[in-house]
């Protein structure tokens, strides 16, 4: 029997919400990792019961959790029960939460500083994992986007993580600087058609592409304009909130920038604005319909000073033309006195037909639509503030 599993990360734990393919009745399991911030949870495309979770705390730092049974049980990889707890040298073996920036001259220029708020150089300091992107073909391989911005990879199921230093070592690295929310690498897209091609987005450095599996990177921000920068069209410094593509057309990218919805049809070499008739082109998430590569979704937010929807109305906007022409989707969503935000990681689509669309709010609701956005209803209410939403379809 086909069923749908929605993975929700919140400020105070994780929730797994399931339904059959009709997507009308939902059952909520959680909180998992109660009291911890769950920035992201995502399952492996090749083994959907293999799920990785980023669990963090201002007190205790970063933890990586892994499930091999669809979220029923969890472990910190590297520390199985009953296994030796130390190496022959006597050192503890649990290293799944160890993210140490590469400093090896062998793997690239050991960059140690980036731009700080006051214009001085500041050392890179690991804070947390924002995003985990499991590999498209190996359940033991996954990528982690972290703050301060860098990309790490595991090839042993998250027991150990190693930086791909070519990104941070790009010559523009000393010019990257944090936005108000820190300097996080929050988006990782793996191109299913071009092995080795991947995209990342960093606030507030911009978007980067690798064509060699993450070894080397180039900024791909031509066409972006950010008025808060001294040079609004500089190569780096843009506050990109999210990028998305349809797996069948991975060279067509859609972007929710701090302000502006942007589109590229050449793998990021150039971008053009497609904000069109949106009531505001500020926002965080953007996603693409599972079966219609030109149908995209955003949630307009009034401004960077006022992180809530225009007019107190929670509206998803859908474009069926790949941008420029947008329609509000309101049926089932609160249309008065609504002042929640929707964060960048908090929107996902399922692969059923009709396509399901899901998003979570800082007010703790997760809304779902089983008809491509025409109608919405909460699949759960009153959770802690939602940080991330992912969805899996299982048969």
């Amino acid at each position: 029997m086909t069923f749908v599993r929605v993975l929700v990360g919140t400020k105070k734990g994780a929730f797994i919400i399931t339904s059959d393919a009709k997507r009308q009745k939902w059952s909520v399991n959680g909180p998992l990792f109660a009291g911890w911030e769950i920035y992201h949870m995502k399952g492996s495309p090749v083994d959907p019961d293999r799920i990785y979770a980023s669990q963090s705390s201002g007190w205790f730092g970063q933890i990586i959790q892994r499930s091999n049974d669809g979220g029923r049980t969890w472990e910190q990889p590297g520390t199985p029960a009953g296994a030796p707890t130390t190496t022959p040298e006597g050192m503890p073996m649990g290293e799944s939460n160890k993210f140490v920036y590469d400093t090896s001259p062998k793997t690239g220029k050991p960059l140690t500083t980036h731009m700080w708020y006051d214009g001085t150089q500041h050392p890179w300091e690991f804070k947390r994992v924002w995003h985990i992107e499991p590999s498209l073909d190996d359940p033991d391989t996954a990528y982690a986007g972290v703050e301060d911005a860098a990309i790490f990879r595991t090839t042993d199921g998250a027991k150990t993580w190693h930086e791909l230093p070519g990104l941070r070592g790009h010559e523009s690295g000393p010019n990257w600087q944090p936005g108000a929310g820190g300097m996080g690498l929050h988006t990782i897209l793996l191109d299913p058609k071009n092995k080795g091609r991947m995209y990342v987005a960093i606030s507030a450095a911009g978007t980067f592409r690798s064509d060699d599996g993450g070894k080397s990177w180039k900024p791909i921000n031509r066409g972006l304009k950010s008025d808060f920068m001294p040079d609004p069209t500089a190569e780096v410094g843009h506050c990109v909130h999210r990028i998305a593509f349809h797996p069948s057309r991975p060279a067509t990218l859609f972007m929710q920038k701090h302000w502006d919805i942007m589109r590229s049809d050449d793998a990021g070499e150039s971008w053009r604005e497609v904000s069109g008739n949106l009531p505001s082109d500020f926002g965080f998430p953007i996603d693409v319909h599972a079966h219609e590569p030109e149908t995209i979704y955003v949630v307009p937010i009034l401004s960077d000073s006022l992180h809530y929807p225009p007019d107190g109305k929670l509206r998803v906007y859908r474009s069926r033309a790949g941008g420029n022409e947008w329609e509000p989707l309101t049926k089932g969503l609160p249309q008065q006195d609504c002042y929640v935000n929707v964060l960048r990681e908090a929107m996902a689509v399922d692969t059923l037909d009709p396509c399901g669309v899901y998003f979570g709010t800082t007010g703790g609701q997760v809304y779902g639509s089983a008809d491509g956005g025409d109608t919405w209803s909460p699949i759960v209410r009153d959770l802690p503030a939602v940080l991330s939403v992912e969805v899996q379809v299982l048969k």
Partner: protein, 98 residues
């Protein structure tokens, strides 16, 4: 054997119901106590002190026999009552956030 009291979230992480009871070889200091704790509960590595610098995380505090050891050198011996297991070493998450 020494006794270590962990904050709620670290007890959960370590799947511990109560105190950690640990054997420490040699002199009982913060360093040797944390080494023993992390060896017995490797999932705690990095949650109390940094993986590589071994610096205490900012919102963690260490108390022993009524004294604050948070800013003491890691190799200062802990009180005899803690070394003998009469009193626990308290690892505390600081009250922070308002």
């Amino acid at each position: 054997m020494i006794r270590v009291v962990l904050p709620f979230h670290l007890r959960t992480l370590a799947r511990l119901d109560g105190e950690a009871v640990l054997r420490v070889a040699g002199s009982v200091t913060l360093r040797s106590a944390l080494d023993a704790l992390e060896a017995a509960y490797p999932m705690l590595r990095g949650t109390i002190r940094d993986h590589t610098t071994f610096q205490r995380r900012p919102f963690i505090r260490f108390f022993a026999a009524g004294r604050d050891f948070s800013n003491e050198p890691m190799d200062v011996p802990l009180p005899a009552s803690v070394a003998a297991g009469v009193e626990p070493l308290l690892i505390v998450g600081a009250i922070a956030g308002g």
